[in-house]
């Protein structure tokens, strides 16, 4: 409790003047007071504490506020700087051309002043270009305003150093200053360079330069006094902002350039592609339109664009020109005649001197004189009136022209505007592109013509080969079909092609037709008058080889109604087709007695080129027709030949019959020959048989006697002797049998000889065969003529054994040769009986030299007669040739022998020497 209150309490309690109630009341009051004092003290104490804390916090808050204020100030300053930078940025961003750099300098200058650069003299941007000897100094200073100065790199050593240090750098800084005499000298130098002197420098002791690099240059300021580090940093920030914007400007400029370039390229590409796509010169109309449009698109000031194509062998040009009026593009083309006029002469001059580019501006009068002539003499007169008015009312006239190969490309402007340098470049590029593509077009035209020619040649070749392949005249319908197809293939518009053949004036018309309708391929009708027929006849009379026909709907139908009346059974659809078509255009090529024509029912006349092609087809057809005629002839001949053939067949039959008879006769003759030779043999055979028969008879007789003797002995009972006699009998009987058999063999051989050949080869002992026939022949001759005699010699090769022959045939040959040999030696003996020894020798040898087989057997019959005279030697093998007296030989012996040997695959040769004898050699293959 508060001491004072306690004292009061004590006082109250001790007071005797106070009643108990009063004391209680007072004590309560005192206690309440104490409590209040306590509270007040507490409050005071706490308030003190809070005050203390609050004061501290206040201090802190004030400090914080101060910091905030400073921060705000800094922020404001920063905002100011940022605003300035923003202004620089905005200015730089709006740059559209290099000179705008001066505006940026001005903004930099103004804002640096605002930011407290009191010492500022000017703001500069230097742009370096490597290929130049100077750099450009863009400047803003209040004294001189906005300037741009060409500063030689070596203007001053310090500037040179500055350029060196900041050039191509990203973050270079350079500063330099002038004082005293240096400053004075520098001022003089500047004046000499044509720069305005700065009078403020009179009062200034120094001049300071500060530059920061910007890659392709530098940005900086100059001041009358040195500047602080802070300010330098600020300039750096200006540099950074400017640099970004400037880079952007450069990028945009580059991009714009590229965009422009892309636009130009695109435009050129359009021109290029259109020019390349050209098929006809007429399309130059479209090309010039595109040229004009594209030049306009690129904002090149042109009133019209034109292409003049030189006409070969002339100073004239074919001009394609495009301009425009309110209705759109106006394109015209006309022949531009060479005439004596300033403008016309300038064109000539440009062409002759091959100038790359020329631009002339003409006065109103010159222009009007030029156009007055053109409007009077050329198709330009057809241009709309408003254009004509514009041409004549325009104040001036400029032509920019680029002569190129084969042509001249020009644009004109009727206000006399001259193309700017970059526009001229674009114009030239257009000219170049047009030139390249136009040359290509010309090449293309050439190539296409060649291709077309090849196509036509191929088509003609097809027609030619088909016509050459014609076997029958009927095939002409195939030929016309091919003609039709090939012409269609050549994209010639035709519905119908036909040949007219065998034309005779007033006679029937013969047509061979090909088209898509069901019309017969061959029509013949009597002559009737029609436009076409009249033209046909007139042309023939005039010896013309070609005419064209154009019929309108009615004319065509008059003609076709008549024509179709000669074509019975034509389907309704086909008739309708012919009659419903709008017209008829026909081209007809005439040759002697034949014609080729094509028709289309659209009525579109054929072009010269198409007609020329048709005529070429006609020529080929003419050849075809010749072949057709040949075929017709051949067919007529064939008909005759057929008749002849029948006659021939009859004759042949007769001949064959005769031949059969002949052959029968021949067979008889051969048989006769056989029989003749048999006759020759008969004596020999008889002689041969006689011997065995003698034996048979003798032994028979002897045997009869022996039987008698035997009977006697038996009767005598002398059986032993009887047996002896029986044994002798048996011997005799065996001998009889032997000789009987021998006779049988001889007869068999004779029969074999007379028999026809079996035709079957069989293994035969050639030695035995020859020996047998030798003896038969000898005995045969001896039998006929007892006086005959001859020496026979044989030389057989026993190693030969059997060979495969037809024995009767070869036997006959051998017999024939031996008989002949005996005959000739007998004849010679009769002539030379003394000292002559007729000799016939037969030798058989085997050799391996004949042919390619296993070898051969040669049978040689040699005589020492008179030989064969040379004159008859060639004939001896001929049938019916004989040297024997009539009735003694058939003349078939050697002939048959020859045939037999040949039939055996062998050879029959003769070697003879007159007076010495002959040698017949049969060579038979093994």
């Amino acid at each position: 409790m508060n001491q004072h209150v306690q004292k009061i309490l004590d006082f109250i309690q001790q007071s005797e003047h106070l009643s108990a109630e009063e004391k209680t009341a007072l004590l309560k009051s005192a206690k309440d007071a104490d409590k209040e004092i306590e509270i007040a003290a507490f409050k005071l104490e706490r308030t003190e504490k809070v005050k203390r804390t609050t004061a501290i916090l206040l201090e802190e808050t004030i400090e914080e506020l101060e910091q905030k204020r400073k921060a705000v100030e800094a922020q404001n300053r920063e905002l100011e700087i940022e605003s300035s930078l923003e202004r620089v940025r905005t200015q730089a961003m709006s740059m559209s051309k290099p000179d705008d750099l001066m505006d940026i300098c001005q903004v930099v200058y103004t804002d640096l002043l605002l930011l407290g650069f009191d010492e500022l003299r000017n703001a500069m941007i230097n742009i370096y270009e490597d290929h130049k000897t100077y750099f450009l100094n863009y400047d803003y200073a209040p004294v001189a305003g906005k300037t741009v100065t060409q500063m030689p790199y070596n203007f001053h050593p310090l500037i040179e150093k500055q350029v060196r240090e900041t050039k191509n750098a990203h973050d270079a800084f350079n500063e330099f200053s002038f004082t005293g005499k240096e400053l004075k000298d520098f001022r003089e130098l500047r004046k000499k360079n044509g720069e305005l002197d700065d009078p403020k420098l009179e009062d200034s002791s120094s001049l300071h330069y500060y530059f920061y690099s910007i890659g392709t240059g530098s940005i900086g300021i100059s001041t009358y006094n040195p500047i602080s580090e802070n300010k330098l940093n600020l300039i750096k920030r200006f540099r950074n902002v400017f640099n970004l914007a400037y880079q952007r400007y450069i990028d945009i400029t580059k991009a714009l350039y590229q965009t422009r370039e892309a636009q130009i390229e695109l435009a050129l590409e359009r021109v290029r592609s259109r020019s390349i796509a050209m098929h006809k010169s007429d399309e130059l109309n479209e090309v010039v339109a595109i040229l004009f449009e594209k030049l306009k698109d690129l904002q090149i000031p042109v009133t019209a664009a034109s292409i003049g194509v030189y006409i070969d062998g002339s100073k004239d040009m074919h001009v394609y020109v495009c301009g425009e009026n309110e209705d759109g593009l106006v394109i015209s083309n006309y022949r531009f005649p060479h005439f004596n006029n300033k403008i016309s002469n300038d064109f000539d001059n440009a062409r002759e001197n091959k100038f790359g580019f020329l631009s002339h501006t003409y006065t109103r009068e010159e222009k009007n004189a030029f156009y007055e002539y053109l409007f009077e003499h050329t198709a330009i007169m057809q241009v709309p009136d408003d254009i004509r008015r514009m041409i004549f009312e325009s104040p001036a006239y400029t032509i920019s022209m680029a002569p190129v190969n084969h042509s001249i490309f020009a644009v004109n402007d009727f206000e006399g505007k001259v193309l700017a340098e970059n526009e001229v470049d674009i114009f030239k590029r257009f000219a170049r592109v047009f030139d390249q593509t136009y040359i290509r077009f010309l090449d293309l035209q050439k190539a296409e013509a060649q291709a077309r020619e090849a196509q036509i040649e191929t088509a003609l070749e097809r027609v030619r080969s088909r016509s050459m392949g014609m076997q029958k005249s009927e095939e002409l319908k195939e030929v016309i079909k091919i003609v039709y197809q090939q012409l269609r293939h050549l994209k010639i518009n035709l519905d119908h092609a036909g040949f007219v053949v065998d034309y005779t004036p007033g006679g029937d018309w013969h047509f061979w037709i090909a088209d898509e309708q069901d019309i017969p391929s061959k029509i013949t009708h009597p002559y009737f008058e029609s436009v076409w027929a009249i033209q046909f006849n007139e042309s023939r009379e005039k010896d013309a080889d070609f005419f064209t026909t154009h019929l309108n709907f009615e004319e065509k139908n008059i003609f076709y109604n008549k024509l179709l009346s000669y074509v019975p059974g034509l389907p309704e659809a086909s008739k309708k087709f012919y009659l419903n078509c709008p017209g008829l255009a026909a081209s007809t090529v005439l040759f002697e007695n034949v014609s080729l024509y094509i028709e289309n029912f659209s009525g579109t006349p054929y072009t010269d080129e198409e007609n020329t092609t048709l005529m070429r087809f006609g020529k080929v057809f003419q050849q075809t027709y010749t072949r057709f005629l040949d075929l017709q002839k051949a067919e007529a001949q064939a008909l005759r030949a057929e008749q002849d053939l029948i006659e021939i067949k009859i004759s042949r039959k007769k001949a064959e019959d005769a031949l059969n008879e002949l052959q029968a006769a021949q067979a008889q003759l051969i048989q006769s020959e056989k029989m003749a030779s048999l006759g020759e043999l008969t004596a020999g055979i008889a002689h041969e048989i006689q011997n065995p028969l003698n034996f048979v008879n003798n032994f028979s007789d002897l045997s009869a006697e022996l039987i008698d003797e035997m009977n006697e002995e038996i009767n005598k009972g002398n059986f032993e002797d009887a047996k002896q006699i029986a044994a002798d009998l048996k011997q005799n009987l065996e001998k009889i049998n032997h000789h009987g058999k021998r006779a049988g063999d001889i007869v068999k051989g004779m029969l074999q000889h007379s028999r026809s050949s079996s035709g079957v080869k069989e293994p035969t002992d050639i030695n035995a065969l020859a020996d047998e026939y030798l003896r038969l022949a000898y005995h045969g001759l001896r039998a006929k003529d007892k006086s005959f005699n001859a020496t026979m010699k044989t030389e057989f090769d026993e190693s030969i054994g059997n060979i495969n022959i037809i024995p009767q045939d070869i036997g006959r040959v051998i017999l024939n040769l031996i008989t002949n040999a005996f005959y000739v030696v007998d004849e010679k003996k009769k002539q030379q009986p003394e000292g002559y020894e007729p000799t016939v020798s037969v030798s058989i040898k085997r050799s391996l030299s004949f042919g390619e087989g296993r070898g051969e057997v040669s049978i040689t019959v040699k005589d020492n007669g008179n030989g064969i005279p040379q004159k008859v030697l060639d004939k001896i093998f001929q049938p019916f040739f004989t040297t024997k007296p009539t009735g003694q030989g058939t003349g078939l012996g050697l002939s048959l022998s020859y045939d037999i040997v040949k039939a055996h695959g062998g050879e029959l040769k003769v070697e003879t020497e007159e007076g010495e004898g002959s040698e017949f050699i049969i060579q038979l293959p093994l």
Partner: protein, 377 residues
């Protein structure tokens, strides 16, 4: 339900007043005991237990009833609440298992009541009271109704106790689980402190141990703002930090108060009444104006008007810091609150207060007056 508050300087005195209060047949079933750590808790427990009264007890930094404020004494609020409507749950903490402990308590309460609400008291300065609240929320959801305070020790900040009839702990929790279907409990936390100075950032902290704010040792900050000079461990009174508490900004709801209770001189940090997450924003606060008392009372009047028109009893957990800050004026606040409902009241000056923040979550507060009105439905 009838409540009576009794108080006494000694156990004997309590015995007598208890007897006296029960003389007319009043039969309390529950005693909420706020007792100075100097008092004989065992005897008090025995007296009450002998009378068959359940105990919710906590040591204090000063205690009071509707009869006045005292220090070093005993204040008891007696309630004749139906024993079926409440349950005393007690648990000591082990290895900082704060959350687990209250989860278990919540589960136990759930076994008894469909909708339990809690009045709790915890002991030990290291106890993370927020974790205790989270434990309840884990089991019963965010809307769970929990109020209470942390036990004190006559502002020595050394050892505090919570207790019940036969148990006590210097590191534990005592809780009354009420059947909220039968008993209505509403709490209102108001502090009235004014944040001053700029917002600062807790640059280093672990739980309730705050090291630096804006990289300055927190103690240096307190010394600076307290205007203290020549501070040594010996001459530094903890009231310096308590009267310059931190207001911890929450993402939702009103800021909560954190005051330094124990200083660690080795690094000039301090331990707070509750956790202060590292990185959180704080402002220093100065004691409220004296008219804040009216504001606190007004807050209670609002509670009365809107949610709790009548109360059978009133509990008040008022932070010890308020006692330091309001000095002789604290009585006005306590009386004012009591007069709102004019019901029997007991309370204590606590180390921390637990209640739902205005428009926010359950919070552990500091320097706050946390008024709890109880009414049988």
């Amino acid at each position: 339900m009838k409540a009576k508050s009794i108080k006494g300087k000694t156990t004997e005195e309590i015995k007598n007043v208890l007897k006296e209060s029960m003389s007319n047949g009043y039969k309390p079933t529950l005693a909420i005991v706020f007792i100075s750590v100097k008092q004989d808790r065992d005897t008090i427990c025995k007296i009450l237990t002998d009378e068959g009264i359940a105990i919710y007890g906590a040591t204090t930094n000063g205690e009071f009833t509707d009869q006045g404020i005292s220090a070093g004494e005993i204040a008891i609020l007696l309630l004749d609440i139906n024993p079926a409507f409440f349950s005393i749950l007690f648990s000591a903490f082990h290895e900082n298992n704060y959350r687990q402990t209250t989860q278990d308590i919540a589960k136990k309460a759930m076994e008894k009541f469909t909708h339990p609400c809690f009045l709790i008291a915890g002991s030990n300065l290291n106890t993370d009271a927020e974790e205790l609240l989270h434990g309840f929320e884990d089991i019963l959801g965010k809307q769970v109704n929990v109020t209470g305070g942390m036990a004190g020790d006559d502002t020595t900040f050394k050892e505090q106790f919570v207790f019940t009839n036969n148990k006590e702990s210097n590191n534990g929790i005592v809780a009354i689980a009420f059947n909220e279907d039968k008993i209505s409990i509403k709490g209102k936390a108001t502090h009235g402190w004014n944040a001053v100075g700029t917002e600062k950032t807790v640059t280093k902290s672990i739980g309730n141990h705050v090291y630096t704010i804006d990289d300055i040792p927190v103690l240096d900050m307190v010394i600076k703002y307290g205007g203290l000079k020549n501070v040594t461990p010996e001459n530094f009174a903890i009231e310096h930090s308590i009267t310059l508490p931190l207001q911890l900004q929450r993402e939702t709801g009103a800021p909560v108060m954190r005051a330094g209770l124990v200083v660690d001189w080795s690094d000039r940090s301090y331990y707070c009444s509750g956790s202060v997450p590292q990185g959180s924003k704080v402002r220093f606060s100065i004691a409220p104006d004296f008219d804040v008392i009216e504001k606190v009372i007004k807050g209670c009047e609002d509670l009365k008007a809107t949610e709790m028109p009548e109360a059978d009893a009133i509990l008040l957990f008022s932070c010890a810091g308020r006692l330091l800050s309001f000095g002789p004026l604290i009585g006005e606040e306590i009386e004012g609150i009591q007069k709102v409902w004019n019901a029997p009241m007991a309370g204590m000056f606590s180390n921390a207060e637990m209640a739902r923040a205005t428009n926010g979550n359950l919070e552990m507060h500091g320097l706050t007056a946390c008024c709890v009105a109880i009414k049988e439905k």
